[in-house]
Amino acid sequence: MTVPADKPHLSREHMLALLKQMIRIRRFEEKCAELYTREKIRGFLHLYDGEEAVAVGVIPVLDQRDHIVATYREHGHALVRGVPMTAVMAEMYGKQEGCSRGRGGSMHLFDAATNFHGGNAIVGGGLPLAVGLALAEHMRGGDAVTACFFGEGAVAEGEFHESMNLAALWQLPVLFVCENNLYAMGTALALSESETDIERKAACYRIASEAVDGMDVVAIEAAARRAVHAVRESRKPYFLECRTYRLRAHSMFDAQLYRDKAEVEAWRHKEPIIRFQTWLESNHIIHADDVSRIQAEVDAEITEAVAFAEAGTWEPVGELTRFTYAESAPPPAR
């Protein structure tokens, strides 16, 4: 590659790929919302609407050998990482062909093949795990990076502070990616943090940091390149705050009593897909038919994923207790 590792590669193809990934997540989740109202998908469903640029900007910068830890709002991360959409959709249905055998659902997507260490639904719960993955890497002398995604709400948890400290103290290769969408369920950032400039928290732990416009996929990718490069070279943690916004309800059970419709509308105008697409079109990098082609491809992929999930099967109840323990070990005494 002629471009230095920390510089984005702004070819037309690359930009089309970024756009496609964002559209792919958006359309996939629109379908999920519809399937939720049809009761095909149950439980909690947390959509990433408005935040797609973060996963799309960061994850492709990682290598195959790198690790990812995500939250319950992780459909986009899994898709961009390369977990097949069919397996993700089957998981949303709870079918055994799903990426977690159907047992996890929307909040617990796992995929060993892509080092996708799960959607964790305990806020802050993924951070110590990421530190541990990086510790193993450090002790084995490898150079993989662990990228850990979490919301700004997690910053109030003790586990955030403990993890930041450990990663810095032991010099572990963790990329902390804070997806600051300004609300933790109904609690606005200003109501949960005394210091609302999240990026500044990294300084207390002597962790290098950067805040970036989380609605600008190119800016995020550039920042992610700098960040991943820094972690890989220095073998130290790095903190990237992506300032974004959740355009939809927290989950499907949220009346959104805590914010004005006008505020959401104002953010709609800044949303990452239209913004990037408009910029590409006005600079004549892409044309309207590029977008319709992308949409057609994505829609076909979604149709296939839904068909795969529909055709999927329920794990037999007789398997319920399987894998509570490893099968190679003798069964524990009852």
């Binding site: 439980g43 709870g94 159907g102 047992r103 659902g105 933790a184 009346a255 509570t324």
Partner: protein
């Protein structure tokens, strides 16, 4: 519990509304009472129990907290120690594990460890239980674990009366009281006396009298057990259903009186079987009523797995009426 004599005026309500009314009433009765927890205010409570209370009482009394279970539970414990009467709401029992240190190592120990110089009159409420397909980090029933801890009291309101009445009595209690609200009960509707008020928090209740077998349960499983008792009745088996109400302390007297009458017992507990509350109850029956028994004790507990997401596996994981019927019949030798 007031009943009969004067026919009280009845209102249609839900478990959720009854729990909300209990909070409202407590805040009005005692200026030391306030509610704190994640999203109790602006969001309206994760299970909408506190919806509307922020507008009524303001942000000092309905205090939204950051995501800091250990921090805010500890703060509630501290405020209680200093004379306030906080109601701490933890979204679900799974998240309470982040606050377990404060609950176990501070709240439960302080009175004893300080030689009775300090007490912690805090009430901690949380949702528990499976049934909403929320998978393995949001669906467990860990109230039995909490019932292991000396120094706290553990309640499991299963009826509208108890959802309405236990909170005030718990707030009056000088020691920490944990209240577990089964998530499947929030939408349960029914009638409640318009003047329903505080209830006792130390007695089990006989929810259905019977002669052939004692079905001992609590919380969300009460309704499945009553359903099972109805099915058993159709087969000529007259089951008595005991609602424990308080998991710590356990009301041994009511349990033993029932077992002495029916001579048979099945315990229904949404916790996992190994090391469960059901195990504790079974052992107490063995210790105190062994010679009254005509058959081995039975148990219906959750399967020993993290609760899975798909409906059919979730249902298969937790106690259900047919399993309770089968267990009762097995104990009666009628399987």
């Amino acid at each position: 519990m007031k009943q009969e004599t004067v026919k009280a005026q009845m209102i249609e309500t839900t478990y959720r509304e009854a729990a909300k009314e209990a909070i409202r009433d407590a805040i009005k009765r005692d200026e030391r009472v306030f509610l704190m927890g994640e999203d109790v205010g602006r969001y309206g409570g994760c299970y909408a129990v506190s919806k509307g209370l922020l507008a009524e009482f303001g942000p000092e009394k309905i205090r939204d907290t950051p995501l800091s279970e250990s921090g805010f539970t500890g703060a509630g414990i501290g405020a209680a120690m200093a004379g306030m009467r906080p109601i701490v709401e933890v979204m679900t029992v799974n998240f309470s594990l982040l606050a377990l240190d404060q609950i176990l190592n501070t709240a439960a120990t302080v009175r004893h460890m300080s030689g009775n110089q300090f007490g912690v009159p805090v009430v901690i409420r949380m949702a528990t239980g499976a049934g909403r397909q929320l998978a393995a980090q949001h669906s467990h029933s860990l109230e039995g674990w909490y019932a292991h801890i000396p120094g706290i009291k553990v309640l499991a309101p299963a009826t509208l009366e108890d959802a309405r009445g236990m909170l005030w009595t718990a707030l009056e209690d000088p020691d920490p009281v944990l209240i577990f609200e089964n998530v499947m009960l929030y939408n349960m509707s029914g009638t409640l006396a318009a003047d329903a008020g505080p209830v006792d928090i130390d007695k089990a209740a006989v929810r259905r009298p019977g002669h052939d077998i004692s079905l001992i349960t609590y919380g969300g499983s009460l309704w499945k057990t009553l359903e099972a008792a109805t099915s058993l009745a159709a087969e000529g088996i007259d089951a008595e259903v005991i609602d424990l109400r308080s998991l710590r302390p356990l009301d041994d007297a009511t349990i033993m009186a029932s077992v002495a009458k029916t001579r048979r017992a099945v315990i229904v507990d949404e916790g996992w079987r190994s090391g469960s509350l059901a195990a504790e109850i079974g052992m107490r029956i063995v210790e105190q009523a062994f010679w009254e028994l005509d058959a081995p004790i039975g148990r219906v507990c959750s399967e020993e797995v993290p609760i899975p997401y798909p409906r059919h596996l979730e249902n298969a994981s937790i106690p259900q009426a047919p399993k309770i019927v089968a267990a009762a019949k097995a104990v009666l030798g009628r399987a």
